[in-house]
Amino acid sequence: MSTAFKLGDFTKVREERFGDEQRAKEPATFPQFTVKDLNFFYGDFQALHNLDLEVPAEKVTALIGPSGCGKSTFLRILNRMSETVPHTRVTGEVSLGDQDLFSFHPTVLRRRVGMVFQRPNPFPKSIFDNVAYGVRVNGMLPASQMKERVEQSLRRAALWEEVKDKLHVSALSLSGGQQQRLCIARSLAVEPEVLLLDEPCSALDPLATAKIEDLVFELKGLCTIVIVTHNMLQAARVADYVGFFLSGKLIEFEGARKMFMNPGKKQTEDYLTGRFG
């Protein structure tokens, strides 16, 4: 993707990426997550209503919708971080591949389904120790192979060149954008099948945002990505599939091309064109 491409408006981005019908045809894939009749409750408050969807593997799925519609709630169910909030309840079925999501031990599941948060949250440890953390707690590699894994992860997160000479300084000394890429590297180090990104760019400036978007685009072949974003432009740039949430319901789930060029629901169209609430 060129920089000019990035700075364009929504319509232009949409035309460039999806205008050519032939080129835009994506081959079908198998589902990474299968969600059936999913409901979620915070105490008595129902945050998600009867969700049914299949998140395709090795693609980028963007979740969009107005604030408070339940995007983060849904994302946090996928790695069961939702369970860490007291007084919550979930009903329905979710499977990872063909295994029941709730049959996993949460630590095993979270190794396979990584998550990057809205605000960068590096540990107050060295850059090296941040990336090595997940590998260590999961006892995945002997210490002798750690260096290699750390370098590989930092390269994949497009951070290696910037930090290779200061792996042992505190991660807190990095800029916000670098910290966020470090958090991505940290997640990649445990070789997850899925990476969940909850508004990963909302605390970053446009340049740092562009870097993360490039990264998301490139990671596609490596793992399945589910990204929550408020930025339609960002969704149009990186997504292969898009889910539109409204008040805890999934209004529409489509390939990005269909969603952006020709949405099936009036509410989706209103939201995409900014004619909303």
Binding site: F117, R119, N121, P124, K125, G134, R136, S187
Partner: protein, 285 residues
């Protein structure tokens, strides 16, 4: 007339009065400390000499000698106090911070606050019953245990506070990488809070170092060295107390010197603790 650029005089007077009253009160606090410090320096420092740190107390009537046994005694008791108070306070604090929602945690928190309010002399009597009576004599061990119990409430609560101060985002970061709750606590939360926890514990040690009442019933006192941990032992606060109420001029002199040494030690611990806290790496928001 144009609008006044300055507030009316009444406002200025109110401001000045407020500033003076609060200023005087703040000054009083500092003045008390300075007065104590000054008095101790003047009376204590001049009575200090090498013998004070190396010699045993001189027999009644003789001039000279030192409080070496009391200094070592205090050190040994603080060691025992730390060995008891630090692990219990630390682990209990971790429990309160990490399992804060449970009814058990609320009960512990409430009990701890009550325990903190128990007069120190009562704590002394409690340990007397618990340790001294079964052992049939006073001991360093009993004194250390009394000080250790006095440390627990504050060690617990300060540890809890510093652990709670660790951002939730760090917990979530660790757990989302597949760390178990125990791993998260041990490898992320405690290291992030460690400078604060250590500071809290040092301040707490400094506080109990000056306790006198709980030692009267537990370690009692001793004119001589107290070998091991099961003999009555001298300690700085108790010796200061005994010497200060004695009729001998030379003992008064030594009490001043003892007070000066104790205060200097407490101040040093305080300063080091604050240094540790101010040097801690800042955490992400």
């Amino acid at each position: 007339m144009t609008t006044a650029a300055y507030p009316p005089t009444s406002k200025k007077i109110a401001n000045a009065v407020m500033l003076s009253i609060t200023g005087i009160c703040a000054f009083l606090v500092v003045a008390v400390l300075l007065f104590i410090l000054g008095y101790l320096v003047v009376n204590g420092a001049k009575s200090l000499n090498w013998a004070f740190f190396t010699k045993l107390p001189a027999p009644v009537g003789e001039i000279g000698g030192g409080l070496a046994n009391a200094i070592v005694g205090s050190g040994k008791m603080l060691l025992i106090a730390a060995a008891l108070g630090v692990p219990v306070g630390l682990l209990g604090g971790v429990h309160l911070a990490e399992f804060s929602g449970s009814a058990f945690a609320s009960i512990v928190r409430y009990t701890t606050d009550l325990l903190n309010g128990v007069p120190s002399i009562v704590m002394g009597i409690f340990v007397y019953t618990l340790v001294v009576v079964p052992m049939h004599h006073f001991s360093t061990l009993a004194g250390g245990i009394a000080l250790g119990i006095m440390m627990i409430p504050i060690a617990l609560r300060s540890t809890e506070e510093f652990l709670r101060g660790v951002p939730q985002a760090l917990r979530e970061g660790a757990m989302s990488l597949g760390a178990s709750k125990t791993q998260t606590i041990l490898t992320v939360i405690i290291p992030a809070a460690l400078p604060g926890i250590i500071t809290g514990i040092m301040l707490n040690l400094a506080r109990v170092a000056g306790e006198t009442a709980p030692l009267l019933f537990t370690a009692f006192s001793n004119q001589y060295w107290s070998p091991g941990f099961d003999q009555p032992s001298a300690s700085l606060p108790v010796v200061i107390f005994n010497y200060a109420i004695s009729p001998y001029e030379d003992w008064h002199r030594q009490a001043w010197a003892g007070g000066f040494v104790l205060l200097t030690a407490v101040l040093l611990i305080n300063i080091v603790a604050r240094l540790i806290l101010s040097r801690r790496t800042s955490l992400p928001r």
